[in-house]
């Protein structure tokens, strides 16, 4: 059944330009971050690691959470319009599958974005004339970043399920990203969903270890994934639909 719901999600997204946002957005920090790196090469002495901070710092805190939020709002847009909740809730589909199909669809986009970020990073490094080999940690940064991104997807999907407005969940993601800086500075990054992305990608300390242990990071990811899925399931099962 989940496979069929996933196919339905794919059909809803057919010919939609959503992928363009994820294609274009990482190009901006790659281009401007590389430009800034080349302008300040005498201060930024750590080669690939310095370039990585230029590419990811602002992206992880502010812009990727907001872009994921836009995508999640878009995934629920169709259900929130034209009385579609009435149709969706009368389909012989388990409530959990409705949420999981959207979570898998959003997560797939996060995976593709992370691969694209990695490709752009390597290309920028080569074009900047970095002669050292690509950092071996790159795969780990992207993998943990993907996990953090999936957590943001789960939280944002829950918000977009509950809030019918398209823009309000995006506002919450921006606020969440900014408050994440405070959470990180207080050492609470692993306990706050919007900082898991920057923690996982080592946005401000690519050369060293993560600001928390890997176990803490994974526990934080699992907790928010499970909590969001459980709340979404209960909401879909118990709450009567509001159709406009």
């Amino acid at each position: 059944m989940l496979w069929n719901v996933l196919r339905g999600e794919r059909m809803k997204l057919r010919r939609s330009p959503v992928w363009l946002a994820f294609l274009i957005l990482p190009v901006l920090p790659a281009f401007m971050g590389t430009f800034n790196y080349l302008q300040n090469i005498e201060i930024l002495e750590d080669g690939w690691y310095s370039l990585w901070t230029q590419h990811t710092l602002f992206t992880c805190y502010f812009f990727l959470p907001a872009t994921i939020a836009v995508y999640c709002s878009y995934l629920f847009r169709l259900e929130h319009t034209n009385h579609n909740w009435n149709r969706v809730m009368t389909l012989p589909v388990p409530e959990l599958h409705l949420y999981l199909a959207k979570l898998i669809t959003a997560s797939a986009m996060v995976v593709l974005t992370q691969i694209w970020v990695g490709i752009l990073f390597i290309l920028s490094g080569i074009l900047s004339g970095l002669s050292d080999p690509v950092p071996p940690e790159l795969f780990e940064w992207l993998l943990f970043g993907t996990m953090g991104g999936v957590v943001i997807c789960s939280v944002q999907l829950l918000l977009s399920l509950i809030i019918r407005s398209f823009a309000v969940p995006v506002g919450i993601a921006i606020a969440g990203g900014i408050l994440g800086i405070a959470a990180l500075s207080k050492g609470l990054g692993a306990f706050y969903p919007y900082t898991l992305l920057s923690l996982g990608m080592r946005a401000n300390s690519p050369g060293g270890p993560m600001a928390c242990s890997k176990e803490q990071f994974l526990a934080g990811c699992l907790f928010y994934l499970a909590a969001s899925t459980a709340v979404a399931f209960i909401w879909l099962r118990k709450k009567d639909v509001v159709s406009v």
Partner: protein, 249 residues
């Protein structure tokens, strides 16, 4: 006037102000955190510190506030499919104007709230720098003008496309470009609409690389930049209004 009142009537239960107040609240919390434990030198440059840092905060947050406000004001017509009905009672251009004025009033209130916050912060934190009313008024005017120009662009995109993903992505990308452009030369900054919070800021930071000490100073008002911004506002607004009036629904 009747059309503007109608816009406020349509959004009376949408609580649009809540998102704006929440994001402004976060901006103020951020400022309180950034300006905690100020030393004597920082207090002697207190208002300059505020004006400089608020310009950076605004580059990140105000484009998003403008994008969200414009999207919410326009999306209600897309969701309700009310454009055809509305255009039997008023010309399309007037509807466009009314929405813009309605959203602009929110932006002006946000700018005024920020300026008020800076004044209150200055009094309570005990800034020793003499109170600069002229620079605060200039900050208010430039902040509101830049935000309204971005709002005009966001409204054009929000009203022309029923898919609200497009205007919000424009907002995020613009905010991103604005933030990065703060590190770029002034000539390039003037080519990016979202970087005008930085272009028109009345305070400049002098960073001494040897001593690693940052010093702030007031700089002359960039009137050429401001005039360029007004030209951009007129161009975006008139082009957008023209496109909207000619769009088939």
């Amino acid at each position: 006037m009747k059309e503007i009142c109608l816009e406020f009537y349509k959004i009376r239960r949408r609580k649009i102000w809540v998102t704006i107040v929440a994001l402004l609240g976060i901006q103020c919390l951020w400022a309180l955190w950034a300006f905690r434990d100020m030393n004597a030198k920082e207090l002697s440059q207190g208002y300059m510190q505020c004006l400089y840092h608020f310009s950076v905060f605004n580059t990140i947050l105000m484009p998003m506030i403008a994008a969200i406000t414009a999207s919410r004001i326009c999306d209600l017509e897309h969701k309700g499919q009310t454009f055809k009905l509305l255009l039997t009672t008023m010309p399309a251009g007037i509807l466009f104007d009314a929405k813009f004025i309605c959203a602009s009033l929110y932006m002006a209130a946000a700018g005024a709230a920020q300026t008020l916050f800076i004044i209150i912060l200055g009094k309570t934190a005990g800034f020793t720098e003499p109170f600069p009313p002229g620079y605060l008024v200039y900050y208010l005017i430039t902040t509101v003008t830049v935000t309204i120009t971005i709002l005009a662009l966001q409204q054009v995109v929000s009203i022309l496309f029923s898919n609200q993903m497009i205007p919000l992505i424009v907002g995020i990308t613009g905010s991103f470009a604005g933030l990065f452009s703060l590190f770029l030369p002034p000539g390039i900054q003037k080519g990016i609409l979202w970087s005008y919070y930085g272009v028109l800021t009345p305070v400049k930071m002098n960073w001494d690389f040897q001593t690693k000490i940052a010093d702030l100073q007031y700089i002359p008002v960039d009137w050429s930049g401001f005039l360029l911004l007004l030209g951009l506002l007129a161009a975006i607004y008139l082009t957008g209004r023209w496109c909207f009036t000619r769009k088939e629904r």
